[in-house]
C-alpha cells in the first residue's frame, strides 16, 4: 500500500518530533526547577483549583445520597477517570492553547524556521510541569473510588481501567490539537477550546443519567467524549450504558482515540498550511 521510503520518512518525522518535544520540555522543566519553591506553589495551586470541582461534588453529597441515581463512590470513579485522562492530555499538550497568541503576535514564525516539527515545538512550549497538580488530584480521587467501590473485579475489568485512562487521554489530546488548529483560523478564540476541553471533563465527571438524551447522543456520536470514561467506566461499574449501546463499545476507546488523533492531525496540517504570517 504505502511506499516504504515514505513510511521510513514518516517514522523519522515522528522520531524527530518526539525528540524535539523531549528536549524543549526538559528545558522548560529545568527553568522551572530554578525556582523550586515557586514551582511547588504553582503545582499546589493547580491541585487546589481542580480539587474545588470535587469539593462541589462533596458539597452536593452533603445534601443528598445519590445524584442521577449514582452514589458518591461511583461519581468519584467517573470523576477520577475523566480528571486523570484530562490531566495526562493537559500535561503533555495543554500549552497548545497558546497558539492563537503566537499567531497574533507573530512569534509562530520563529518556530517555522527551526528544524523541528512545529507541532512538537508548540506542544512543548512553556511545558508546564505544574499541571501535574491536576493529574495528581484526579489520580487521588480515582484511587479513593477504587478503594471504596465494591466491584466484582475480573481480569477484563482490571485491564479496562488503564485502557480507559490512556484512551481518554488520547481523545482529550486530539481535542487540544484540533482546538489549536482552529486557532489558525480564529486567532483569539482560545475560549472555544476551553468549552470543549474543560467543559468536556466537567461533563464527564457526572453520570450520563444527569443530562438530556440529546446531549448524551451528541457527546457519543458527534464529539466522542463518552468514550473517555462513561462507556468503559459503566462497564466496570456494571451499570447500563446510555442510549442502550452494546457491551463491546466499552473496549473501543483506544480505537476512537486513534481516529480522533488522526482527524486532529489532519486539521492541524490543514491549519498550518493555511497559515499566513501577520508579518509583524
Amino acid at each position: 500500500m504505502a511506499d516504504p521510503s515514505r513510511v521510513r520518512f514518516r517514522r523519522a518525522q515522528v522520531r524527530d518530533g518526539l525528540r524535539a518535544y523531549r528536549l524543549i520540555s526538559a528545558m522548560w522543566v529545568r527553568s522551572l526547577m530554578a525556582y523550586r519553591l515557586s514551582f511547588a506553589m504553582t503545582a499546589l495551586g493547580n491541585f487546589a483549583v481542580t480539587a474545588f470541582d470535587f469539593a462541589a461534588i462533596l458539597l452536593m453529597f452533603s445534601q443528598v445520597d445519590r445524584l442521577g441515581g449514582y452514589s458518591l463512590a461511583e461519581i468519584a470513579f467517573l470523576y477520577g477517570a475523566s480528571c486523570t485522562a484530562f490531566g495526562l492530555a493537559d500535561l503533555s499538550l495543554g500549552s497548545m492553547d497558546r497558539l492563537g497568541k503566537r499567531v497574533r503576535d507573530g512569534t509562530l514564525d520563529t518556530l517555522l524556521v527551526r528544524p523541528a516539527p512545529v507541532i512538537a515545538q508548540v506542544a512543548a512550549d512553556r511545558f508546564g510541569l505544574h499541571r501535574i497538580g491536576r493529574l495528581t488530584q484526579g489520580a487521588l480521587v480515582l484511587t479513593y473510588a477504587l478503594v471504596v467501590l465494591d466491584i466484582d473485579w475480573t481480569v477484563v475489568k482490571v485491564l479496562t481501567v488503564p485502557m480507559m485512562l490512556l484512551g481518554g487521554a488520547g481523545i482529550f489530546g486530539a481535542l487540544f490539537v484540533a482546538g489549536a488548529a482552529f486557532q489558525f483560523v480564529a486567532r483569539d478564540a482560545a475560549e472555544v477550546q476551553n468549552a470543549f476541553t474543560y467543559g468536556g471533563t466537567t461533563l464527564l465527571q457526572y453520570p450520563p443519567t444527569v443530562f438530556a438524551k440529546d446531549l448524551v447522543r451528541g457527546v457519543t456520536f458527534v464529539l466522542p467524549l463518552a468514550f473517555v470514561n462513561w462507556l468503559p467506566a459503566l462497564y466496570v461499574l456494571g451499570r447500563p450504558y446510555p442510549l442502550d449501546l452494546p457491551v463491546w463499545v466499552a473496549f473501543t476507546p483506544p480505537l476512537v482515540a486513534a481516529g480522533c488523533l488522526a482527524l486532529a492531525g489532519l486539521a492541524w496540517r490543514t491549519g498550518l498550511r493555511s497559515y499566513r504570517s501577520t508579518g509583524s
Binding site: 506553589m41 474545588f52 445534601q63 483569539d188 478564540a189 475560549e191 446531549l215
Partner: protein, 273 residues
C-alpha cells in the same frame, strides 16, 4: 466645583476606555459567550439532578436553581471571579516599575483603576452576560422577574458587587509591592472567589457553619447577593440590609486599599521605582 467636574469627566473617559478596550475583542467575546453557554448547560443539568433529589434545597425551586446557574455564568467575568480583570496589568506595572509613572499622574491610582474596571465590568455584563442567559432561557424554565423594579434592584446589587470585587482585586494587586509577582496571592484570591461567591454551588446549600461563614464573607456580595435579589428573596427592608452588607464590605475594603496604597507608595520612593 470646576475641578470636581473635570475629575468626573476624566474618570468617565477612563471608564469608557475600559469598556471600549474589551469591546474590541469581538472574536474573544463570542468565544467567551460560547464557553459560558456550554458550562451553563452542563451545570444546569447537574443542578436539576441535585434539586430532583432534594426539591426546595436551599430554599430554591428548580427554576430558581437553574436561574442561579445562568446568573453565575453571566456574572463570572463581570465580577472577574476567576481573575482576568485589571489586576494582572496593575501587578505587571508594579513589577516593572512603571507604577512610578502612574503615581505622578494627576489622578488617583485607586479611582483610576476603579473607573477602568467598572467600564470593563459593564462591557462584560452586556457582552458576556446577556446572550448566555438568553440561551439558558431557551433550553430551561428560568425564574425571570416580571417586575422591572426587581431588575433595577438586581442591577444595583450588581454595581455594588462590582465595587466589592474591585476592592478585593485592588488589594490583591497591591500585594505585588511586597511579593513582586503577585501570582500566589492572585491564585488564592481566585480560589476564594470561586468557592465563597457561590460559583461552585449556591452558598445557602453549604452545610451548617461553613454556609454561615461563607455568607458573611465579602465574596458573597459578588454573586450570591445579586442572584438572591434577582430571584426575589430580598425585598423591602431585607433588600436594604443586603445593600448595606455590600456597601459595608465595599467601604471597608476600599479603605483598606487606600491605606495599603499609601504604605506601598512610600515603598516605591524608597526603592527609587
Amino acid at each position: 466645583m470646576h475641578v470636581r467636574a473635570g475629575r468626573f469627566r476624566l474618570y468617565a473617559a477612563v471608564a469608557e476606555g475600559g469598556f471600549r478596550r474589551y469591546a474590541t475583542y469581538r472574536v474573544a467575546t463570542a468565544a467567551g459567550v460560547f464557553t459560558n453557554t456550554v458550562f451553563g448547560l452542563i451545570l444546569a443539568y447537574t443542578y436539576l439532578a441535585l434539586w430532583d433529589e432534594r426539591p426546595g434545597l436551599g430554599g430554591y425551586d428548580q427554576a430558581q436553581a437553574v436561574t442561579f446557574v445562568w446568573l453565575g455564568q453571566a456574572l463570572l467575568t463581570v465580577m472577574a471571579l476567576m481573575g482576568g480583570g485589571f489586576e494582572g496589568e496593575l501587578i505587571e506595572r508594579i513589577r516593572t516599575g512603571d507604577i512610578a509613572v502612574d503615581l505622578y499622574r494627576p489622578a488617583d491610582l485607586q479611582a483610576w483603576w476603579l473607573a477602568s474596571d467598572l467600564g470593563r465590568a459593564l462591557f462584560q455584563l452586556l457582552g458576556r452576560g446577556v446572550l448566555p442567559m438568553a440561551a439558558g432561557a431557551l433550553v430551561f424554565d428560568l425564574a425571570l422577574p416580571a417586575d422591572p423594579l426587581r431588575w433595577l434592584a438586581f442591577l444595583t446589587a450588581v454595581v455594588l458587587g462590582a465595587l466589592v470585587s474591585f476592592a478585593l482585586r485592588f488589594l490583591v494587586a497591591l500585594s505585588a509591592f511586597w511579593t513582586m509577582d503577585g501570582a500566589g496571592v492572585s491564585q488564592v484570591a481566585m480560589l476564594a472567589g470561586t468557592f465563597f461567591s457561590g460559583m461552585l454551588l449556591p452558598l445557602n446549600v453549604f452545610p451548617g457553619a461553613l454556609g454561615e461563614v461563607a455568607r458573611a464573607l465579602p465574596w458573597s456580595a459578588l454573586l450570591q447577593v445579586p442572584a438572591d435579589v434577582f430571584l426575589g428573596r430580598h425585598t423591602g427592608l431585607d433588600l436594604i440590609r443586603m445593600y448595606a452588607f455590600q456597601l459595608g464590605w465595599a467601604a471597608a475594603l476600599l479603605t483598606a486599599g487606600r491605606l495599603l496604597q499609601a504604605v506601598a507608595t512610600r515603598r516605591v520612593v524608597v526603592q527609587g521605582g
